[in-house]
């Protein structure tokens, strides 16, 4: 019995790789296994090699694995490109149609299953995915009823006949491979899962769901990889809640529409990736200057310019922190798990109204698109806080304006929505006085700058630093952000076996930077390594600039488009000078 294994399916884009993976993993989720998925895909619709990998485990995991146990291949290219990941004694389930061969030097067992032929016998080659997933399910010796239930849900709306055919395809694939293998493979027999109900979703779905829970009822957005799933999720859900998604003509319209809607009182978000974020910069300044709440999600991908649109990177950090001309208050939060994606959206909407500032939620492609198990979300913990929003302003004398930008002790002013009888005030991106009227007075300028820029003093978000500091004076402090946490923890397990003690801090509050909280941990550690998916060590730069300790800090960087593998982190930490 084993506690975890890795499974991958590869083929041409548009060939059923996605749907095979979806049904296979949904069924595993029902059994209570922990799953972590990784999508390798290209920026095209049909054709081009694509593969989905999932790691299946009886305990929580948050990283892809280095190696692979089972590879399902729709073509020889999938074998040639991925067989090197197979561990010795691994299995390839391939379509007999292309006469699959195991590449030289690879120790793997090949099951050539007439995947296409069986599907065609049942009426359509579209059912290839069912034959293939049935075969790999059978090799694991898992109960077929659970799998069939997932198939039923996937095809139920197409009618009983379609469901039946697909179940038959699963059965044929299973029977064929079991006969060849002489029954399920004992070395792949997974321990029983805990059976506890988990959620299984991608980060973008958790962001969508979190936004709904936060009271977001409008989204204005322009399609872009890897953010589009957020708008696609919300347009399915918002009409039932009275809201909607507007697909705008560009990202500038998306962000300014969101500013308009927030100004008028609806929690509104937009989401994009690097290129869209770049276009939004001027408007982010408007939100900062006019103290209008705004929530933006940036799902980072490979940059610069069009860069690597379907690949992993964490290189927009500086753009998020420093982007927009002039100086405004701004919050940047980096969720590090699916759970964070959900809860951080609620926090982002609250913070944006409490402080009347733009909030950027920073994810990365792996977190946004990797499908993974997560703990059920806690409905009771959802709190909505709209800060100093008032329903009606006190009655004023004729010609007097409501002091929307009143100078207050905490820098946050009462806010009233358009429509309120006595709340009329002016809003402008021009420097303005307490009533919002343009003003070039030097005294006013200084007061207003201080008001805005001091609003976030001392801000601490939930888990701004996620600290795993079991060791008082660790050999190593590893710092990361976003999706890399699980990979780092896996590497730390191996380091511990070698006698290297390590602490791990995930920085979630990117801006304003949590300097004071971080310093003691930097002091304690003998060495510090900052791990990030970019070429210029942007997170390490923030740490050095705010907290110092430049002499201690090393960087592990990866910017080839792929997430870190645990072995890479382990090796780099071992070899640290």
């Amino acid at each position: 019995m084993i506690s975890q294994l890795s499974w991958k399916i590869g083929g041409q884009q548009g060939e059923g790789v996605e749907s095979t993976d979806r049904i296979f993993s949904t069924a595993l989720n029902r059994l209570g296994y922990y799953l972590y998925g990784y999508r390798h895909f290209s920026s095209r619709i049909k054709g081009g090699h694509t593969n989905n990998k999932i790691r299946i485990s009886t305990y929580p995991i948050r990283a892809i694995s280095d190696d692979l146990d089972i590879l399902v291949a729709f073509d020889q290219e999938s074998i040639d490109l991925n067989a090197k990941e197979l561990r010795s004694g691994g299995v390839i389930v391939a379509d007999a149609k292309f006469n699959p061969v195991v590449p030289e030097g690879i120790d793997a067992r090949l099951f050539a299953v007439p995947i296409t032929a069986m599907a065609e016998e049942l009426g359509t080659s579209l059912m290839k995915n069912m034959v293939a997933s049935g075969a790999s399910w059978a090799l694991l010796g898992l109960p077929l009823e659970v799998f069939n239930k997932a198939v039923e849900e996937e095809f139920g709306r197409k009618g009983a006949a379609v469901v039946e055919k697909n179940i038959e395809a699963v059965k044929r694939g299973a029977e064929f491979v079991l006969e060849q293998a002489g029954g399920p493979l004992n070395e792949f027999k997974l321990d029983e899962a805990d059976g506890r109900q988990k959620l299984f979703m991608i980060g973008n779905e958790a962001i969508g769901l979190g936004s709904l829970a936060a009271g977001c009822r409008l989204m204005s957005a322009y399609p872009i990889t890897p953010a589009s799933e957020i708008m696609e999720y919300l347009i399915k859900k918002l009409p039932a809640l009275g809201g909607t998604v507007v697909q705008t003509e560009d990202e500038i319209a998306a962000v300014t529409m969101a500013i308009g809607a927030n100004y008028a009182g609806v929690r509104t978000m937009t989401a994009s990736a690097g290129p869209g974020l770049s276009l939004m910069m001027e408007a982010i300044g408007l939100a900062g200057m006019t103290e209008t709440p705004l929530v933006i999600v940036d799902t980072q991908r490979g940059g610069p310019s069009t860069g690597l649109p379907t690949k992993q990177e964490q290189s927009d950090l500086n753009a998020m922190v420093y982007g927009t001309h002039g100086e405004i208050p701004k919050i940047v939060i980096a969720p590090a798990s699916i759970e964070d994606c959900f809860y951080d959206m609620i926090e982002a909407f609250n913070l944006s109204e409490q402080y009347q500032v733009p909030v950027i939620v920073m994810t990365d492609l792996q977190l946004s698109l990797g499908k993974q198990s997560c703990e059920p979300f806690d409905f009771q913990s959802i709190q909505i806080n709209r800060g100093k929003l008032i329903e009606e302003a006190p009655e004023l004398e004729a010609q007097q304006l409501f002091k929307r930008y009143e100078l207050t002790e905490d820098g946050v002013s009462p806010r009233v929505l358009p429509g309120a009888k006595h709340g009329i005030h002016h809003v402008t991106g021009v420097e303005h006085d307490e009533t919002g009227r343009p003003s070039e007075s030097a005294v006013n300028r200084q007061n207003m700058m201080d008001k805005r820029l001091n609003k976030l003093n001392g801000l601490q978000i939930r888990d701004g630093l996620r600290i795993d500091a079991a060791n008082e004076t660790p050999d190593l402090l590893i710092i990361g952000m976003g999706s890399t946490g699980g990979t780092i923890d896996q590497a730390r397990e191996w380091l511990a076996k070698d006698g290297i003690t390590s602490n791990h801090i995930t920085i979630r509050q990117i801006h304003p930077f949590p300097t004071e909280q971080l310093i003691p941990h930097l002091q304690q550690a003998k060495k510090v390594v900052v791990i990030e998916n970019n070429a210029t060590a942007q997170l390490a730069g923030q740490i050095k600039m705010h907290a110092g300790f430049a002499e201690k800090i090393r960087s592990l960087l990866k910017y080839d488009g792929n997430p870190f593998l645990p072995s890479e982190v382990y090796k780099a930490c071992k070899e640290l000078d």
Binding site: N29, K198, L199, F200, E205, L209, L212, A213, A214, R217, L218, S220, L238, P239, A240, L241, G242, G243, T244, V246, E249, D250, I252, A253, A254, T256, M257, I259, G260, A261, N262, Y263, A264, G265, V266, T268, E282, A283, G285, L286, P376, F377, F379, I382, I384, Q399, L401, L417, P418, G419, A420, K421, H422, I424, H426, V427, T428, G429, V430, R437
Partner: protein, 288 residues
């Protein structure tokens, strides 16, 4: 009920004496009163430029945004609170140069807002550069030998983008302008009102007199039918865009707000934010 005086505030506009924008400001104030609005029921969203300052000169909710983006901001305001009357406003540079993309798509989208362009055929606030509305050969600081680009026709563009309300006026004709703004506010959809608003400082060609000599009022054509799209397009082309009045109105097409699936008749901004536990559980069930 509010009179036009209640839409005035005590801010002195920083426009040059004689600027056409003064009359447009007055026309908006009159039209707002004439359609029975209270100041708090109106939101004026403006762009950047001389004309963009208008949102600060009207006693109503006002947002002076960034250059070229008055329309997406105004659409956001309207989506959030459809009970508000939303007027977007800006200059020809704001709407037809930097913001042209938004203009075309706002027209297509057809939210129930009124867009008033204060068209002076030049960039005033930056002190005299060419605009997409400048005539060919027009000499400015940025086109010292005369503009070599063709003049943009916002009316033709609006028509081809599927506009449901297209009008044009002249700032000197306060009566017509006020009536057109009223009609625009009442129109259930996007209304574009382009207003010739002479720049007395930087445009010595397109002057008040020049407009008076060159524009034709649609009232001169008793058979003109503004519901006829082909007639409208022909008239714009025949007059090379130098016409005033209600050029086209389509009352058949519903506004965007009325076509959004599940969108209520009340302000979205007034709805409850929290999900019920039942709603929440239903959403979560999909991921099991």
């Amino acid at each position: 009920m509010a009179t036009f005086k209640e839409f005035r505030n005590n801010v002195k506009p920083n426009w040059c004496p004689g600027c056409g924008d003064f009359s447009i400001q007055a026309a908006i104030q009159r039209a707002a009163a004439n359609v029975g609005l209270e100041p708090e029921e109106l939101a004026v969203i403006s762009g950047i430029g001389c004309s963009g300052r208008i949102s600060g000169y009207i006693n109503a909710y006002g947002l002076h945004g960034i250059h070229g983006r008055a329309l997406p901001i105004a659409q956001g305001v309207k989506l959030a609170n459809r009970e508000l009357t939303v007027i977007a406003s800006g200059g020809d540079g704001d709407g037809f140069a930097i913001g042209m993309g938004h203009t075309v798509h706002a027209i297509r989208r057809n939210l129930n807002i009124t867009y008033i362009v204060m068209d002076n055929q030049i960039y005033g606030l930056t002190k005299g550069q060419t605009s997409p509305r400048s005539a060919e050969g027009f000499k400015t600081k940025s086109t010292p030998e005369g503009s070599i680009e063709s003049t943009l026709s916002p009316l033709e563009i609006a028509m081809s983008a599927g506009a449901t309300f297209v009008a044009q006026s002249f700032s000197s004709d306060l009566k017509q302008l006020t009536a057109l703004i009223e009609a625009g506010i009442k129109h259930e959809g996007f209304s574009l009102i382009n207003v010739f608003s002479p720049c007395v400082t930087f445009n010595k060609i397109n002057t008040y007199d020049w407009f008076k000599q060159n524009i034709v009022n649609l009232e001169q054509f008793p058979d003109y039918d503004p519901s006829n799209r082909i007639m409208a397009m022909n008239k714009i082309m025949e007059t090379e865009g130098m016409l005033t009045g209600l050029i086209y109105q389509n009352t058949q097409r519903k506004s965007y707000e009325d076509m959004i699936s599940g969108f209520g008749a009340d302000a979205l901004a007034k709805q409850e934010l929290s999900l019920s536990e039942e709603q929440f559980n239903k959403l979560v069930a999909e991921f099991k």
